[in-house]
């Protein structure tokens, strides 16, 4: 260390340094750091403390996520839905729309059909199991589509500002002034109702929400000092957007995205309920739709697929909360 020879301290600063040695009682593990003590480096309570609890990168965030009981419940339930969806062809090979038994078997009446059969004699459990495939596929793919468009447009608008921002905000507003569900119905009605068109239509009506959110986050974050620092270091726009701003803008987007998956599942269900879903695929919404006529006599036909939707949506919401806690280090640090 050369500092003590090379620098001339003014008296007042020397006093300040001297005083700090009395106040700061050395932390237990500071013996090593103490040897290095000098005018330019001194042991520091917070860094000594955090040496104990430092966890690397993602592992720490996963740990926080996994200590959240709500998130665990959400993950477990969603995982069981995903596994069910994946195993559907093995559990119930064949078309779930085929008649397998006499109609209106109540749940528990026949051990072969634990959740009973509907008005056409179709197995309700087989329908729910296969319906999980449609619901999850549409939910996830539509959200991915909405996120890609929304983050792209929101990031460009928020980061560059100026006339680019004005044009993009106008486009977002055009989409937002149209009633969402009406637009969805129109889009699906124009194209043939297949899983692909339903997914694309849901993606197209959900991106403006993401775009607005992303734009707001980017506008706030681009003013931060660390973005200024990135500019002063000569980083390109792509690096600033993707490496500096986007990771910090993500928590609200992640929260929104799991809610969006839930929303997309609900929209698909609503479309199918109205008979605008893919007629060749069974979905939770279409099961509710076909059970609607007999709700007074066989309410389980609407209630059971309804419960499947409710639990899937709740578990997605629980996961989104858990993710938010885990991915925001400052917040989780303060809560501990």
């Amino acid at each position: 260390m050369t500092s003590s020879q090379s620098t001339a301290l003014s008296p007042s600063l020397l006093v300040a340094v001297g005083r700090s040695t009395e106040i700061a009682s050395p932390p237990p593990d500071a013996a090593e750091a103490e040897k290095e003590w000098s005018y330019t480096r001194a042991p520091d309570a917070l860094s000594a403390r955090s040496a104990y609890q430092s966890r690397r990168g993602l592992r720490r965030e996963i740990r926080i996520f996994l200590t959240n009981p709500n998130a665990i419940v959400g993950v477990l339930f969603l995982a069981s839905v995903v596994v069910t969806a994946l195993l559907a062809p093995l559990l119930y090979p064949g078309d779930p729309l085929e008649m397998v038994s006499r109609p209106f078997l109540w749940p528990g009446q026949n051990a072969d059909y634990p959740l009973g059969t509907d008005s056409m004699g179709r197995d309700v459990l087989a329908g729910i199991v296969h319906g999980a495939r449609i619901s999850l596929t549409v939910g996830i793919v539509a959200t991915a589509l909405g996120l890609t468009i929304g983050i792209g447009i929101g990031a460009v608008a928020g980061y560059f500002g100026g006339w680019v921002d004005e044009v993009l905000v106008k486009i977002i507003e055009i989409f937002q002034t149209l009633p969402n569900f009406v637009l969805l119905v129109v889009l699906v009605a124009i194209a043939q109702p297949t899983v692909t068109t339903v997914t694309a239509a849901i993606g197209i009506i959900t991106w403006p929400t993401v775009a607005r959110l992303t734009r707001a986050e980017f506008r706030a974050i681009r003013e931060k000092d660390y973005v200024l620092a990135a500019r002063s270091l000569g980083y390109g726009h792509a690096r600033i957007v993707f490496a500096e701003i986007l990771p910090n803008a993500l928590p609200p987007i992640i929260v929104t995205s799991s809610v969006m998956v839930a929303g997309a599942i609900l929209m698909e269900a609503a479309l199918s309920f109205m008979g605008l879903g893919d007629p060749n695929r069974v979905s939770w919404g279409s099961m509710i739709g076909s059970g609607r006529d007999v709700i007074r006599t066989a309410w389980y036909l609407t209630a059971l697929p309804g419960l499947a939707i409710v639990f899937t949506v709740i578990s997605l919401n629980l996961i989104s909360d858990g993710l938010n806690d885990a991915l925001n280090p400052r917040f989780s640090e303060e809560r501990r």
């Binding site: 050369t2 500092s3 090379s6 620098t7 301290l9 003014s10 007042s12 600063l13 020397l14 300040a16 340094v17 005083r19 700090s20 106040i23 750091a33 005018y39 330019t40 480096r41 001194a42 520091d44 309570a45 917070l46 860094s47 955090s50 040496a51 430092s54 690397r56 990168g57 931060k224 000092d225 660390y226 200024l228 620092a229 990135a230 500019r231 002063s232 270091l233 000569g234 980083y235 390109g236 690096r239 490496a243 500096e244 990771p247 910090n248 280090p329 400052r330 640090e333």
Partner: protein, 311 residues
């Protein structure tokens, strides 16, 4: 040799209705190896000047020359080369580090962007600079929120110095820190200056820090530089009434009496006063001051003052 020269630089912000002249017709020079301090009240345009001369904020008019090349005329590509040679240390160490990157990622990125070294060499450079600024060896894989203010400011300094710049703009680098930590960081800046032969533009409102740290002082008031002098000369014979008032306001334990504060607040930069901008608060102000802006007058070697009545 002149490292950086600024000629008639102005920076305006358009804020709501009307514009704010944050920097108004400022000229200055920084020699190689020199530490120049820029002092003034909050809101006088110090930080704007620092950012304008790096073109982090686009200046409205004027010229900035760094080692003979015109910074204000540089293209985006040329500007990227300049980034390697002028760097900045920020005031708030809690805001200037990306909370989602480890210290290693924060320090490695500049090397990647400027194509310095391969993976192994970059690791060596990062470890060396971390050691030089006094970061504990195990700190590289931690996140900024695990550090205290002083340690974070060391990270900020390491990031600014890792590209081996020639000029570092320090934007109030210690004003957010505890007094004891301030001394450590200032000593570190002095040490790094000698080790890497840096020049500093040291923006501050803390005169005791400036006196300790700088070779020359520029006093700024409402977007204009009102006095420029070597540090010793400024303390020995401050000429501008504003400088005198600033120096008198520094608490002195030996005198133990109240300093007469400068009366009033900083006038609105939306609508700066006519003539000499300080006339609304100046004890010497006359009609001449209200009507006519003073020119710079020389008061000995390297000492210039913009005041009609300075003696």
């Amino acid at each position: 040799m002149t490292l950086l020269s600024v000629h008639n630089l102005s920076t305006q912000y358009s804020a709501g209705r009307g514009t704010v002249r944050a920097v108004d017709d400022v000229s200055l020079e920084i020699e190689t190896g020199e530490t120049v301090a820029l002092v003034g009240e909050s809101g006088c345009g110090k930080s704007s000047l620092g950012k304008s001369l790096m073109r982090l904020v686009e200046p409205t008019s004027g010229q900035v020359t760094f080692k003979g090349s015109d910074v204000t005329a540089m293209s985006a590509r040329e500007l990227r080369g300049l980034r390697q040679r002028i760097q900045m240390i920020f005031q708030d160490p809690f805001a200037s580090l990306n909370p989602r990157q480890t210290v290693r990622a924060i320090l490695t990125a500049p090397l990647k962007v400027h194509g310095i070294g391969d993976g192994k060499r970059r690791r060596e450079i990062v470890e060396k600079i971390a050691e030089q600024v006094g970061l504990p060896p195990d700190s590289l894989d931690r996140y900024p929120h695990e550090f205290s203010g002083g340690q974070r400011q060391r990270i900020g300094i390491a990031r600014a110095l890792i590209l081996e710049p020639e000029l570092v703009v320090c934007d109030e680098p210690v004003s957010a820190l505890d007094l004891s930590i301030q001394a450590q960081i200032l000593n570190l800046l002095v040490e790094m200056k000698q080790r890497l032969s840096l020049s500093y533009l040291f923006v501050s409102h803390d005169l005791s820090v400036v006196r300790y740290f700088s070779d020359r002082v520029l006093v700024m008031y409402l977007g204009k530089i009102v006095e420029s002098a070597p540090t010793a000369a400024l303390w020995a014979s401050p000429a501008h009434p504003y400088t005198r008032a600033l120096l008198a306001a520094v608490p002195d334990p030996a005198k133990r009496k109240h300093a007469a504060p400068i009366s009033g607040d900083l006038p609105s930069p939306h609508n700066p006063p006519s003539g000499c901008r300080f006339h609304t608060r100046c004890p010497l102000a006359t009609d001449l001051c209200r009507a006519e802006a003073p020119r710079y007058r020389s008061f000995g070697e390297n000492h210039t003052v913009a005041c009609h009545y300075a003696q």
